[in-house]
Symmetry: C2
Subunit: 451 residues, 2 copies
């Protein structure tokens, strides 16, 4: 499978380079739209533009766009004429169309909504009201729902006629006012007598979310209950849409990538910038500059111990290892906590336990590393007191680092700042500072034995 | 929803503490098994054991176990008698039962396979042949498949009688020898004439995987094609099982957590150890010790510049900021590449482009940070040459760091080592070393102007 994809990718790139567009167009006609969409993820924007313009019909374009990042989708559409844009958008599920429109320049978006058929633009304008990261922002509105007083026979007939509904596997049941009152599986419909009323066989306890529920919570619920779709209701329990499991997969992936990127001090957004170095640098710099000032503060503290340093120049040789190890241990604890918050494994109820666990782990690892580095110092500089100072500083620095690694993300979580992005510079600076203070502090105390 | 869960968790903890087991048992009887399973994730092993023993019937126990980590599942079962274990395992889908048996002590596993009914133990022993991380290891074997010469009417009847099959939404079609030849959706069955043959309406181009396909690839395919299940075939195209989307979600989550943990120098495994500090420390230490020796080497290199250092003690104040920033920039590039490999966004074909992009980004960010830190050095120590040396060292260190950040994970990927775990110590040490060499090298060249 992956080999097939590699061959396809290489071929597409070669044809683009050669400008062999008719060939390329023929090739695209032969492959599954999902494979075309997958191909796009490996190309840069310029190549994507060329390929996108070669897609035969609005239906394929719509499919490919709904699989791509919506910001990229908007960029690909901007270059073509407004009538074609409108045509493609109308082929897409409303939720994907809305996300692309959100990413377009406002003026263009308005023009397109004007060109669209009234029915479509009303629906889209309504969806635009919801926040992008909520159930309302990701739900499909093409739902298949039936009234509770319908009979099974009628339900099956209705199902046979339904065309638009996105991936039907559950039938949602509503009352006379459109309120969600139950759910049925397709299979249930097949296994009961044809003149049974839906309300007599439906499950009444439906797992549902509100339009303003955060998309991550929606994803966690779908994952927890192993369901294929979750209905979305408004504040009056009126059925507004469904979120399907394929959207949930996208949310979970996005969330994981986002967390990983944030911990490294950047954002998933940078993937949209392709190879535009300046834009990417601008995205990463604020976090780096924060870290930079942390490093300068650490340096300043060392400067305060100038007198000690001047006497025992050997002390300097262990500065990188002490700040480095503090950073590593703090990073480990912070990773456990940040990921724990994200997956729901850690909450403020268990935080105390987690804190003491990480502290214990930090002390144990600090003892081992302290011993190792102490012995290294003893052998290298031939001074047992230097070994003692370095070893002690290592244990303390690593224990403190493990604690800050838990405390910093918890603090940021508590005050409503994303712990994934805020923790690292803070943890690193705090650890560098405590490491240096402990190290040079101990060294100053033992100064007479170090000479 | 989350609030409900919090209340439940607090109540359960309180009742466990008080030893109010009859109350607890009553409470458990009232909640959805998925919520019970979710609750387990927040409890430590001792609490989990108490709760698990209070579950009323084998069915609920089986449900809870299949949702938990299988290593934890094995631990929970070990404490109860063998007949009950067998009963619970027989209530579970084969794939989950197999995973739990894998995690049991060998002796116990064998005894249990002996107690089981022949049919079940044969099936399980067969599944045990497959590697845990492959399609064979995660597939469900309770598949709903029909023969291609069946008529739609018969298919619907068969569907009405099927009980065991896991989450039916596709009907897989096989030939006389059990080879996979097509697929149908439930909905398709409802919309055609009852005496049509399945082979006349089925889709013949079925996306499938082999039993030894890696689970991550399986997950990526399901995500790419937005399907709810993927059939698994053996080398002769015989249908062996299916992997459903709920398993795919678990694989994707596991994979993301695993990558995040590995980048921080630990493994997801540590989640199984709960609060056992020694076991966790042992898991994290190898990576830390590797980093420690990297730090010592850096220190050793500084020692070689002892003469320079002794003359200009101010140089030492910028050591933490130069090694720290190198580590940060290298970490950013490495994160982009490691995650890129994992999500399939980066491959060896685009690596060159990625390398030069990261290098450009590194140079730009290095120029900015070098300027900032150079000005700081100038103002602080009042020496323009020191500013120049620090600034130059910063630009070079950051550019080199960005390059190593791309090269190290690519190298490890190429030689078949997991880049997520191997990159960080390597990147960090390489950056520290180049940073220090460039810094003190430049300083030694400009030595006469620094005094």
């Amino acid at each position: 499978m992956e080999q097939k994809h590699q061959i396809l990718l290489d071929t597409a790139r070669r044809l683009i380079r050669r400008g062999a567009y008719p060939h390329l167009s023929k090739l695209l006609g032969k492959i599954h739209p999902a494979d075309i969409a997958h191909l796009f993820r490996y190309l840069d924007l310029k190549e994507q533009r060329i390929l996108f313009n070669l897609l035969e019909d609005a239906e394929t374009s719509a499919y490919v766009l709904s699989e791509l990042d919506h910001a990229v989708g908007a960029l690909l559409l901007e270059q073509i004429d407004k009538e074609t844009i409108t045509e493609v958008l109308q082929e897409m599920p409303y939720d994907d169309a809305v996300d692309i429109i959100r990413n377009m320049p406002e003026e263009l978006a308005e023009e397109i909504l004007n060109i669209m058929q009234d029915e479509d633009s009303t629906e889209i304008e309504q969806l635009l009201q919801y926040d992008e990261d909520t159930a309302g922002g990701i739900m499909a509105t093409e739902i298949f729902s039936l009234r509770e007083d319908m009979r099974v026979r009628e339900a099956i007939e209705a199902l046979q006629q339904a065309q638009d509904a996105e991936m039907v596997f559950y039938v949602y049941v509503t009352d006379d006012y459109g309120h969600l009152v139950g759910v049925l599986s397709l299979r249930q419909l097949l296994t009961v007598a044809p003149d049974t009323h839906l309300k007599d066989i439906m499950t009444r306890d439906v797992i549902r979310v509100a339009t303003d529920t955060d998309q991550e919570e929606v994803a966690h619920l779908v994952a927890r209950y192993n369901i294929l779709a979750i209905p979305v209701v408004d504040e009056h329990n009126k059925l507004m849409g469904i979120v399907t499991v394929d959207d949930v997969i996208d949310v979970l992936r996005e969330e994981a990538t986002d967390d990983i990127f944030k911990m490294a001090g950047t954002r998933e957004e940078e993937l949209l910038y392709g190879f535009q170095a300046f834009k990417i640098a601008r995205l990463r710099l604020p976090w780096l500059i924060t870290n930079l000032f942390g490093g300068v503060i650490t340096g300043y503290l060392m400067w305060m111990f100038k007198a000690t340093l001047e006497q025992i120049i050997a002390l300097v040789t262990f500065v990188p290892v002490i700040t480095g190890m503090g950073g590593n241990v703090g990073g480990q604890s912070a990773t456990i906590v940040v990921r724990g918050f994200a997956t729901g494994r850690i909450d403020f109820g268990t935080l105390r336990q987690v804190f003491f666990k990480e502290l214990r782990v930090g002390v144990i690892m600090g003892a081992v590393c302290g011993l190792v580095v102490g012995v290294v110092a003893l052998i290298w500089h031939g001074n047992p007191y230097l070994g003692l100072v370095v070893g002690l500083a290592m244990v303390s620095a690593m224990s403190v680092a493990a604690s800050t690694g838990v405390l910093a993300p918890s603090f940021f979580k508590k005050i409503g700042v994303d712990p994934a992005i805020a923790s690292s510079p803070f943890v690193q600076t705090a650890n560098d500072i405590t490491g240096i203070l402990i190290y040079f502090g101990t060294a100053t105390i033992f100064l007479q034995y170090l000479r």
